[in-house]
């Protein structure tokens, strides 16, 4: 007896709630939320002195402790892209720009959103100068801020939901 195969499919979801601690990195998120500061860290060993952004309280290069330092809120785009098709969590946001930005004074580059009134590859390419803009409502998460081309900064901070840094 040969019957045509019929698949049985169900709707299902895996869901976990968290109260997640950022551990030793907590200060970065607290300062971001409360004071619009971008804190990095700097290795305390003189011969190393690596400036980490995102911050690490331990230096992965030389295993010395790293101290908190305040980073400048300006930087340079190292590499970027514009995303036109993406995950279910971000598909409503397309197109969006993201890139690795080396803040002035940092030795590593931070991944962040790059917003522009004219979102084209040439506007956010390597070498372009950017500045941090903050949400007025902040929760202590990476989504509390983003970068914009320096020449658009005044426009972005004049919007009702955003403000400039310190």
């Amino acid at each position: 007896m040969s019957e045509e195969f019929q698949a049985h499919e169900i709707r299902d979801r895996i869901k976990i709630d968290y109260k997640y601690t950022f551990g030793g990195q907590s200060r970065f998120f607290i300062e971001l939320m409360k004071n619009k500061k971008l804190l990095g860290t700097k290795c305390t060993k003189k011969s190393c002195g690596k400036a980490w952004m995102p911050p690490r309280i331990n230096c992965s290069e030389c295993y010395s402790p790293a101290d908190w330092i305040e980073m400048k809120q300006t930087g340079t785009i190292e590499v970027s892209t514009i995303v036109w098709y993406t995950t279910s969590a971000f598909i409503k946001a397309i197109p969006y720009g993201i890139g690795f930005i080396k803040l002035d004074g940092a030795d590593t580059a931070l991944l962040q959103g790059i917003f522009s009134e004219n979102l084209v590859p040439s506007k956010i390419k390597k070498g372009k100068r950017v500045k941090a803009v903050f949400s007025k409502e902040r929760e202590g998460k990476m989504t509390d801020f983003f970068f914009v081309p320096e020449d658009e900064y005044e426009n972005w901070i004049s919007k009702a939901e955003f403000e400039g840094g310190v």
């Binding site: 709707r11 590499v79 892209t81 514009i82 036109w84 098709y85 598909i91 993201i98 991944l111």
Partner: protein, 418 residues
């Protein structure tokens, strides 16, 4: 370490979705195919003769099951033997081959099942009524959850960052260079009955396909796939005892994890994990990084994205840095040149990930199996000419493609040739 051979290869078709099979049922099919293949070349073995298993399964969220390996272990009838899972993103397959090699080379097992499996397209995005955005979301949880996932980072934007940085440094790969890879690998897949995306296309077709992540377009990207691939690895003693006719020896295995934070890398346009893994694997096999193009017959590369294949030509030592793009472009329709199927070093003769699809945990094992079948002369319609008796398989993956593995193989003739 003891010598280790591949004596059985089983690969299921790579498909968009199997409605009629679960992940463990796919694994069963691949294992059965690998046993049948081993028996065809002289072994007389069943699953009961396999002493251990190494599982390559990337993503629990795809399988809707944590520790999917133990459920597969039950279904394969492998109870009361050791089974260990490897999960290293897109490179899961390559790393699984490495650990299965270690299982046999160390003397822990004489016969080891090395199996990769993945079934991603049960993920389903209710907003769009399609699978892919939810598959991509399940993958995106592999990005750093604190700093990078919240920015909308995903596989394509991660790889494109390296390709764009490489372009900034060397002026290539251009969009056209990447399109050539797409034309090649979709075209190679036409002769592979197990491939998901066989297509005869032109550079213009690629250039006109929809933008995914600047400058990657739809046809520059592999499709996520469902499949399983299995290898049976045996010690030299076992190869002799079973009387295997065409063992394929694993002569080099190496892996390296580079920094998963692309922003921490000094050269964002290079994947040092590829360079370290390739150099170590070639050295172990007695081959030379600077002459590798002349020492092997083919390379099954990890072309998750066309631009990444171009960069891999350089990192794996086929051409000097900055010459990957021109290498494929200048050799278009020139027999005996470049990475084309009739070229000086055919890359992805089976179609690679772009042509076959990317069934993550299974992919690197499929690539290794394909590179071994070519050396046996058993690849089928996409068989290429084998002169040196040596091939390589390449696996990369993880956040920022931090993981890389390279496997070098040789047939009996390949062991003897300089």
């Amino acid at each position: 370490m003891r010598k280790v051979a591949i004596i059985g290869i089983g690969i299921t078709p790579f498909r968009a979705r199997y409605l009629d099979k679960t992940y463990f049922e796919l694994a069963f099919d691949a294992t059965k195919l690998a046993l049948e293949d081993a028996n065809k070349i002289g072994a007389e073995i069943t699953h009961k003769d396999l002493e251990s298993t190494v599982y390559g399964i990337y993503n629990e969220l795809f399988e809707r099951q944590f520790m999917p390996d133990i459920f597969t272990n039950s279904y394969l009838g492998m109870n009361n033997k050791p089974g260990t899972r490897v999960a290293t993103g897109g490179a899961t397959g390559g790393y699984t081959v490495r650990m299965a090699y270690a299982e046999v080379a160390s003397g822990l097992s004489d016969l080891c099942l090395c199996i990769g499996l993945e079934k991603c397209n049960d993920c389903y995005d209710e907003q769009t009524g399609t699978t892919t955005p939810e598959v991509l979301n399940a993958i995106a949880y592999s990005a750093d959850m604190t700093y990078e996932y919240p920015m909308g980072m995903m596989a394509a934007s991660s790889y494109v960052s390296m390709v764009n940085a490489h372009f900034e440094e060397f002026g290539n790969p251009t969009e056209e260079h990447m399109a050539y890879v797409s034309v090649k690998n979709h075209g190679n897949a036409i002769l592979n009955p197990k491939a998901q995306s066989p297509m005869k296309i032109t550079v213009e077709d690629v250039m006109n396909s929809r933008i995914i992540c600047y400058p990657f377009k739809m046809l520059d990207c592999c499709l996520y796939s469902e499949a399983s691939a299995a290898l049976i690895l045996a010690s030299e003693e076992k190869v002799k005892e079973l009387g295997i006719e065409k063992p394929i020896w694993i002569t080099g295995v190496a892996a390296a994890n580079t920094d998963c934070f692309i922003g921490n890398r000094e050269d964002m346009g290079r994947l040092y994990s590829n360079i370290y893994a390739a150099k170590a694997a070639y050295k172990m096999a007695g081959l030379n990084y600077d002459k590798i193009k002349q020492q092997i017959d083919l390379a099954e590369l990890h072309d998750a994205f066309s631009g990444q294949e171009v960069i891999s030509y350089e990192e794996l030592g086929f051409v000097p840095f900055g010459e990957g793009g021109p290498w494929i472009e200048k050799s278009f329709e020139k027999p005996g040149e470049g990475p084309w199927i009739d070229g000086e070093l055919p890359c992805c003769p089976c179609g690679g990930l772009i042509g076959c699809g990317h069934a993550v945990g299974a992919t690197g094992i499929m690539s290794t199996g394909e590179a071994a079948l070519q050396l046996r002369g058993d690849a089928g319609k996409h068989q290429i000419a084998i002169e040196k008796g040596r091939s390589i398989a390449h696996s990369i993956g993880g956040p920022g493609a931090a993981y890389a593995a390279v496997i070098v193989m040789a047939n009996e003739e390949g062991l003897k040739k300089p």
